[in-house]
């Protein structure tokens, strides 16, 4: 069976390389066809447009009878993708996997996942909350993340947890706040009370201090959270 797996994976890689139209790319890691890095362009007309998203792909022993193991290497701001680890919440990578799915069709599914977030079945709860509270603010943040982490032709942002060091040409202040999808005024307001910027961002992010939620959360509550 092992050689059937090899044959199939080789064929799938070739299939992706032959089809330039879809804009997918695939590279081997350490010359093994069972550990790959695939990439696809952000779907046009979305806040991910213009980005090139890298995905780490591990082909399991019993492939194609069990799902490919995939996670994003590029940081993505999306309710179904962990902003920290890149883990993906997608039915076909879990229960709905079928052996007729291929590297290509799965990458295309990921691309379409970016078009159609499922905030009610989130992987990243904070991002999902942000999405549900204020879609326009969410989109702005997602666009910012795309610009910062998923720019094509650079390896920037690949797997890097901290955005600040890599994006030195952008003002650091703007960076951290925008990255969290928060209002600068809000952050500065609490910073003025003597709290550390990092701590303020962390807390405001956690309690989803955005858009329509802001009037609902009193300043005292925020300060209490900050003091915890």
């Amino acid at each position: 069976m092992a050689d059937a797996r090899t044959r199939r994976v080789k064929k799938e890689i070739q299939d992706i390389q032959n089809d330039r139209q879809a804009g997918l790319t695939i590279e081997l890691v350490n010359d093994s066809i069972f550990h790959l890095i695939g990439s696809f362009p952000g779907p046009p007309g979305t806040c991910y447009e213009g980005g090139k998203f890298d995905v780490d792909i591990v082909v399991p022993e019993t492939y194609p009878f069990v799902a490919l193991k995939m996670k994003f290497l590029s940081k993505v701001y999306h309710p179904n993708i962990s902003s920290a680890s890149g883990a993906i919440c997608l039915d076909i990578l879990k229960d709905n996997w079928s052996p007729i799915l291929t590297l290509k069709s799965t990458l295309i599914s990921l691309q379409s996942l970016l078009c159609t977030p499922e905030p009610n079945d989130p992987q990243d709860a904070e991002v999902a909350k942000h999405y549900l509270t204020s879609k326009s603010s969410f989109e702005e943040t997602a666009r910012y993340w795309t610009e910062t982490y998923a720019r094509p032709q650079t390896n920037e942002g690949r797997g890097a947890p901290s955005g600040t060091s890599k994006t030195s040409h952008l003002p650091t202040v703007r960076d951290e706040v925008a990255m969290a999808g928060l209002e600068r005024a809000h952050v500065e307001q609490f910073e003025a009370l003597g709290f550390e910027r990092g701590r303020v961002i962390e807390v405001l992010k956690r309690i989803n201090y955005r858009g329509a939620n802001v009037p609902k959360i009193s300043e005292d509550t925020v300060v209490e959270e900050l003091l915890k």
Binding site: M1, A4, R7, R8, K11, E12, T62, P64, F65, V66, N96, S98, P99, I100, L101, T102
Partner: protein
């Protein structure tokens, strides 16, 4: 009429051409006796055409009783229709044809009798092809320009065309020949096309007019079912079905499919078409389903196509059987599936026997409003035959004996602590029966009240410890089991 030798040569060349065409396009349809064709002197050429009827797509075919059996005592049975095949070779007129079949009826009286009794039978089938019509022609040297083909025989495999329709078709051969002759062509190619494409179907009025379709235009309307009159539909139906299935499977075996799992092409014989019409190679599907079954993920034993996965269409048993082959794996698949099915059912409890633990279903579907009898507590394990009470899980103690409160207490308390109409209550009700649990709750509450009353208004007799009601104040209470007059004193031993 004198025919010049040039004419004969022309005829021979037309014939040669048309035989070449037919043989190259439908090699399986024609057998030619080449002698006449290659010989020096022009002689008769004989050709046998075996022309299958392609209905294009799956259509409804009704086989109706043509009433021949009911009409005459010397009825035509399918067995005798089959003898047509030989009978036709001798005689050519349709009149003779019938006579032959009638005489041939006699050697087969059994089938005639048994089927004469049930008249007016109709069989409806879904077919995409009909068995071949076999035409044996003798082509004289002057054919096709000056002489018609001579029909040595014309019959249908399994005799699905009734004798009268066969004679219609014979007449049609000549009219076709006439048409073709006008344009200087032979009739063979035209005839093969005519039968193969089913063009003869409307002309022999085989379309079901009752379906409301106009049969006046001779094109086949795909929606119109076919209507085949036959002496014995119940005998013909399985044969047509078998032929169709055989043809479909041999066509399938010859085709090449690209399996979506291994992405390699395979011959149809190594593949399986699932009931959803998706085709996979058996090796891949065996591997996939085998892995799923081995890991207990029977929910995934389904067609791997995306649509089917989304639709949750589970594989059928015959599909799993034909793919997996290993009987033990199939058994495991069935066993796990059954287990999951049973566990989904909230009325299922597990057999209390430690070594058994088989799921036991509620014996019959009881409507919740329906009065449940005390027998409703009885469960019998289908696997070890142990009969037990669903409430206390002990050996069945009859409908009247109540379960010991110590056993039923935990779930009665659990039931009572759950709010009214809570899912927990519904679940317990479904598992144990609504009335059963309500009876237990009533009894429990009564017990509790009783206990409370005993605590408040009785005390134990110091001598025998029987609780005695404090009716007239403590000093007045008298133990009925002790000698009259013995007083219960305050400060006597604590109640138990």
């Amino acid at each position: 009429m004198e025919i010049s030798s040039e004419d004969l040569e022309l005829c021979a060349s037309i014939l040669e051409d048309e035989i070449t065409v037919v043989q190259s396009v439908y090699p399986e349809s024609s057998r030619v006796n080449q002698e006449g064709l290659t010989g020096e002197s022009p002689s008769d050429v004989s050709i046998v055409l075996e022309i299958p009827v392609d209905l294009g797509e799956t259509r409804e075919v009704k086989i109706i009783d043509d009433g021949t059996i009911a009409a005459s005592s010397a009825a035509v049975s399918p067995g005798t229709s089959a003898t047509n095949e030989e009978g036709n070779t001798v005689t050519q007129s349709s009149q003779n044809n019938i006579t032959t079949t009638k005489t041939a009826t006699n050697p087969d009286p059994h089938s005639t009798i048994s089927h004469a009794q049930d008249t007016q039978q109709t069989a409806t089938l879904q077919l995409s092809s009909l068995p071949p019509i076999i035409v044996s022609l003798q082509l004289p040297p002057a054919y096709p320009l000056h002489a018609p083909p001579e029909i040595l025989s014309l019959h249908s495999t399994h005799a699905w065309l009734s004798p009268s329709l066969v004679s219609c078709l014979r007449a049609k051969v000549f009219s076709l020949w006439d048409e073709c002759r006008a344009s200087g062509e032979g009739v063979l190619w035209r005839l093969v096309q005519y039968v193969r494409n089913g063009d003869f179907i409307p002309e022999l009025s085989l379309l079901d007019d009752t379906a409301g379709a106009a049969s006046t235009d001779t094109t086949i309307t795909t929606a119109v079912p076919l209507r085949i009159p036959h002496a014995a539909p119940q005998l013909l139906a399985p044969r047509l079905q078998a032929y169709d299935a055989h043809l479909a499977s041999s066509l399938f075996d010859l085709k090449t499919f690209t399996c979506a799992i291994c992405l390699s092409p395979h011959k149809g014989s190594a593949c399986i078409a699932l009931s959803c019409a998706h085709v996979f190679c058996k090796d891949c599907l065996r591997e996939f389903w085998g892995t799923c079954i081995a890991e207990g993920e029977v929910e995934r034993v389904m067609c791997p196509d995306e649509e089917c996965v989304k639709g949750g269409r589970k594989a059928r048993e015959e599909e799993v059987r034909s793919v997996v082959l290993d009987e033990r794996v199939v058994e495991r698949w069935k066993w796990i599936r059954q287990k999951i099915e049973l566990e989904k059912d909230p009325t299922t409890v597990h057999c209390p026997m430690e070594w058994c633990q088989a799921p036991v279903r509620r014996p019959r579907a009881v409507k919740e409003e329906e009065e449940e009898s005390q027998w409703d507590r009885l469960r019998t394990c289908q696997s070890c035959q142990y009969s037990f009470c669903v409430l206390c899980k002990r050996t069945w103690h009859g409908p009247l004996t109540v379960c010991p409160p110590s056993v039923t207490m935990p779930f009665v308390l659990e039931y009572m602590s759950a709010g009214a109409d809570s899912p927990k209550r519904r679940e317990i009700e479904r598992r144990l029966g609504k009335n059963n649990i309500e009876r237990l709750v009533a009894r429990y509450q009564e017990e509790e009240l009783n206990k409370k009353w005993i605590d408040q208004s009785t005390m134990a007799c110091p001598g025998c410890e029987v609780k005695v009601e404090k009716s007239l104040g403590e000093c007045q209470s008298v133990c009925p089991f002790r000698a009259a007059g013995e007083r219960l004193r305050p400060g006597s031993p604590v109640d138990r």
